[in-house]
Structures are given as C-alpha cells and as structure tokens.
C-alpha cells in the first residue's frame, strides 16, 4: 500500500488515522479515544455488522434455505421481503421478556450479556486488511480459541437458570458437545500453526501471501475438521442437538423470550460469522488473493471469503438432517479426534522434513498435493476401519433397533 491518503479505501486504517489526527488537534487526550471508539463502532456496525448480520445472516439465510427447500422464503415485508429482518427485530424488541417465577432471575438476565460479550471480543484479532487489525497480538489464534470457549458458559447459565427440565438437558448437551469437539478443533488448528510457524493471525495471512498458497490447501483435512467441529460447537443445524426442537422443545432457550432470546439468536449468527472470518483468515489466506488485493480493497476480499464460508454453513443447514446426540458424540471421539491426531502428525512430519532438508518455497505445492490425496485416503480408510460400508446403508426406512439406536429397556426383548 504505497498511498496513504485518507480517501484511499483500499486500506481503511488510513481513514481512521486521518480522523484521529484531526481529532487530536481539537479534543483533549482522553476524549479522542472515546470519540474514536464511538466512530469506529458506528462505522464497523454500518459497514459490517448490519449488512452481514442482519441481511446476509438473517434474510440471506432464510432466503437461501428457502430456495434450497423449494420455498420462497420471506417475500411479504417490503420488496422481495427485504425488510423482514427489521420487522423481526422490531417484533422481538416489543415482545415481553418473560421470566418464570422459579427461575434464577439474576443468572437468567446475565446469560445473554455473557453470550454477547465474547462475540464482540472475538473480532479484535481478526485482520481485515494489512493494517486493519485492532490487536495484532502474537498469540492471536490462541486468543480466539480462549474467547470462543467462553460462550458455552453463557449457554449453560441460560439452560440452568430457566429451571426447566428441557433447558437443563439442552445445557448439558451443549457443554458435553463443546468439550468433545474442542479437542479435535484445537488439534486441527495446531497442524496449521506447525505449517505456518506462527500463532499470529496476521502472520498467517502473510505466510499465505509469501508462499502463494492457502493453508486450507496444504492441510485440507484440518479445514474439514475445523468446519465440522465449529459447526458442532456453534450449534448449527445439522448438529444442533442442544436446541433440537423435535426432542427437547428449544433446548437451553426454552424459557427465553423477547429480546433476551433475540440476543442469543442474533449472536448465534455473530459467532458463525466470526468463525467464518477466522477460517477465512487461517485457511483461505485472509485479505490476500494472489496479488489481486492491490486492486480490490483487501477488506472486501476478506468479507467475500467470510461469506463464502458462511454460505457453506447455510448450505449444510439447509440440506443435512440433524444427527442424534450419541451419534454426534461418537463422531467426535471415534472419527474426528483420531483423524485430527493423524493429520497433526502428518503436518508436523512434513514441517520437520521441510525444515531439515531446507527445501525451497515451491515445495509447498507438492505437500499440498500429497496432503489432499492423503486426506481423502485417510478419511476413506478410517471410515472403513470404523465399519462404515456405503453398500450396507439401506435404502428403505429402518426401525430404531435396527439402526443400533436407543430402545427403552421395557420394550426390548
């Protein structure tokens, strides 16, 4: 970025530093930061949160799923139903937020707040552009993992405080699932850290730029594992056993209503977007696109990648049926964890070979090809090892008992 004029929108940090400089001349020291923070908040809200969260998150998701399921989706409020999210928000705000008498009032009120705060904090380490990262800390990846382990406590508080059997079930399920899926998630990311040799997210983007390859191509298995684990942790639909409406009403949100519920709902999308942004940074090269970022603003590329990833979330949600609780657990421990370990081992081995033999840069492409092939092979082998046989999956409906599901003891013979 050679130009640093404030109107050069390829790098929005130019604009912000220009505003700060000018404010500094007018306002006293402490106030500058307050005003700047306000401006930044409003700007990022207008630029990112509003279009992303409200329109692509709510409207887009409903619309796309609708098309996937041969429906129209929202089409009544405004042209093409475009005002639907706003109508939803207004409805939620004016609704009464009920609190059951036997509930733990304080915890119930605090839970949505605890849920929202990490969703905002997560964005601090995500680089939107070359200079557009709020906190470029050395252990950014770890920071992301640490912060993303907080919302589960809010979920738990929500489930527990309702004093309702179903919400408690939901809370237990989500806690168990988070613990189960955290390990393969961290292991898969560890492999990427080993390959890139940095834990800073900006550093990872620079790595991708330097080697002209995405980490997701070098470690495709890690990408897949990350996607599935994050989908489970975020309670997205194929894995949303914590609020499975066909089993436990609405899970941990059973007793929630009004805007208290709305915060959970909105921030669910917020977390999914943050996870997508994180994946775009770590696996898809962030704001770089093989030199194209000189012409297109990096933050646009970044937002595009984020939504590409988010689209896959929507896609899986629209097409896949929900898994059973025990299936999901078994999947984590029997499938994801061993595969993540193998993947980690593979990547570290490659890294060691690379470091020891002192190969040149282009060698990474060979690794990428090898890894893609090996990933497919590993998944196939592991599926065979766990007894999955495509030819054995029946084409007709089966009884629960046949599918090795849970049968109440009274009816078993």
């Amino acid at each position: 970025m050679d130009s640093s004029k404030w109107y050069d929108i390829r790098d929005l940090s130019n604009l912000s530093s220009w505003i700060l400089e000018n404010l500094d001349k007018v306002l006293p020291f402490e106030l500058v930061y307050v005003v700047a923070a306000l401006i930044g908040f409003v700007a990022s809200f207008l630029l990112f949160v509003l279009p992303s969260q409200l329109y692509l998150g709510v409207y887009g998701e409903r619309k796309i799923i609708g098309r996937m399921q041969s429906r129209y989706g929202p089409n009544r409020v405004g042209p093409l139903g475009l005002f639907q999210p706003i109508a939803d928000a207004i409805k939620l705000i004016q609704k009464e937020a009920l609190t059951p008498t036997s509930a733990d009032r304080v915890v119930m009120y605090i839970a949505p707040i605890v849920f929202v705060a990490p969703a905002v904090l997560l964005w601090a380490v995500i680089p939107f552009g070359e200079n557009m990262v709020f906190a470029n800390i050395e252990v950014g990846l770890l920071y992301f993992l640490a912060i993303s382990s907080l919302p589960v406590i809010a979920n738990f508080m929500a489930g527990w405080s309702g004093n309702n059997k179903y919400s408690l079930f939901g809370a237990m399920r989500i806690v168990a699932m988070t613990i189960s899926y955290e390990s393969p998630l961290v292991l898969s990311l560890l492999g990427v850290v080993a390959i890139t040799g940095t834990m800073s997210l900006a550093g990872m983007v620079l790595w991708a730029d330097e080697f002209k390859i995405w980490a997701g191509l070098v470690s495709p298995l890690a990408l897949v594992i990350y996607f599935i684990c994050v989908s489970a942790e975020l309670n997205r639909t194929p894995t949303d056993i914590a609020e499975a409406e066909s089993e436990i009403v609405a899970g941990y949100l059973t007793e929630y209503s009004g805007m208290k519920w709305g915060l959970f709902y909105g921030m669910d999308i917020g977390y999914a977007l943050a996870a997508s942004a994180f994946a775009a940074t770590v696996f898809l090269g962030g704001y770089t696109l093989f030199g194209l970022e000189q012409w297109i603003p990096g933050w646009m590329i970044f937002i595009g990648k984020t939504h590409l990833f988010y689209f896959i979330f929507i896609w899986t949600r629209g097409t896949l049926p929900r898994l059973r609780s025990d299936q999901l657990m078994e999947f984590a421990w029997k499938f994801m964890l061993p595969l993540a370990l193998l993947n980690l081992f593979l990547l570290i081995t490659e890294r060691m070979i690379w470091a020891e033999q002192d190969y040149e840069k282009g060698f990474i492409y060979l690794f990428a090809v090898v890894n893609i092939a090996l990933s497919v092979l590993l998944v196939w082998l592991w599926a065979r090892f766990n007894g999955y046989k495509p030819e054995a999956v029946p084409m007709r409906p089966r009884l629960v008992k046949e599918a090795r599901g849970y049968v109440p003891t009274g009816e078993a013979n």
């Binding site: 915890v107 640490a146 907080l150 406590i153 408690l168 613990i179 834990m199």
Partner: protein, 174 residues
C-alpha cells in the same frame, strides 16, 4: 510499571478478582459460586496479560474457564439438587481466622523484604510463546513427558471412577 493504563488495569483487575473470590466464599448457591470462580479466573488471566505473559493468559482462559470450570459445572449438575448448597462446616470460623493470620504473615513478608527487581520491561523475546516452547522441549523435556503421562493416568482414572456398576457388568460380559 507506570502510566495510566497499567495502573488502572491493575486496580480494576485486583478489585474484580478479589471481590469475585469473596463471592465464591459468600454465595450460598453452589452454581453462583462457580460463576464467581470463573470471573476470578478471568481476572487472573488479566493479571497475566498485565505481566506480559500472553501465552499463559490464553492458556489460563482455555484451561481454567474452558475446561475446569465447565467440568465443575458438570459435576454440580451430576450431584442432585440437595447437594447443591454451599454451606459452611463447623470449621468455618477457625479456618477463616487462620486464613487471616496467614494473610498477615504473607503481607508482612512481602512488605519487609527488599525485592531485587529489574527496572522497566523484561528483555525482548524472552517471554514469548516461542521461548516457552523451546524451554519446554529442551531443558524441561523430562517433566514435560512426565506431565503427559500424568494426564493420561488422570484420564483413565477419571473414566474408571465414574463408571456405573451396570457398565462394568456389561464390559465383563463382552
């Protein structure tokens, strides 16, 4: 450490940490106590950041908040409602008195010792995650391996402890 930022952060964090630690002590409801405990953990993580130990701070949040606190929540839920109070035993009063005495001793030692401290910030790069990794896999490799053995043993032990008699009978059959 000078400057408005660190000083303010220190006072805020120490207030947060100590008050919520007191909350663990005071709250009657075991679950509230756990929630206070989580706040304490996060406060201590804040202290770590203040002491330029970023990696440890993140590890603290992941392990204590993400794992241990969640485990405690789990354990609270697995013991039925009757077991969820957080009352004191008859040893409460002497225990607190002793703790106060101990605190007095500690404070006396802290303030009467002339600490040999460095001025300013620690050396660049000496406290980073990379340095920590090198130290763990070089000088401390043996304790590192032993720790992994300990974790495995704890894992197996925890699984064995919580098996129900029915599960054991099932395993014996198969």
């Amino acid at each position: 450490m000078d400057g408005f930022g660190p000083v303010a952060a220190f006072w805020v964090l120490s207030g947060l940490t100590l008050v919520s630690a007191g909350g663990v002590m005071m709250s009657r409801n075991l679950l509230h106590a756990v929630l206070f405990l989580i706040v304490t953990f996060i406060g201590v993580a804040g202290f770590f950041v203040l002491l330029s130990a970023d990696f440890i701070a993140m590890a603290q949040v992941i392990i204590y908040v993400g794992a241990i606190a969640v485990l405690v929540l789990f354990a609270v839920l697995l013991t039925p409602r009757a077991g969820r109070d957080n009352a004191e035993t008859k040893w409460a009063l002497p225990g607190m008195l002793l703790a106060v005495c101990l605190a007095a001793v500690f404070l006396f030692v802290i303030h009467d010792t002339s600490w040999n401290t460095i001025d300013g910030d620690p050396a660049e790069g000496s406290l980073t995650a990379a340095a920590l990794g090198n130290a763990l896999l070089d000088t401390w490799v043996l304790p590192f391996e032993i720790a992994s053995v300990l974790l495995t043993a704890a894992l197996v032990g925890a699984i064995m402890l919580t098996r129900t008699p029915e599960e054991e009978a099932e395993d014996a059959l198969s």
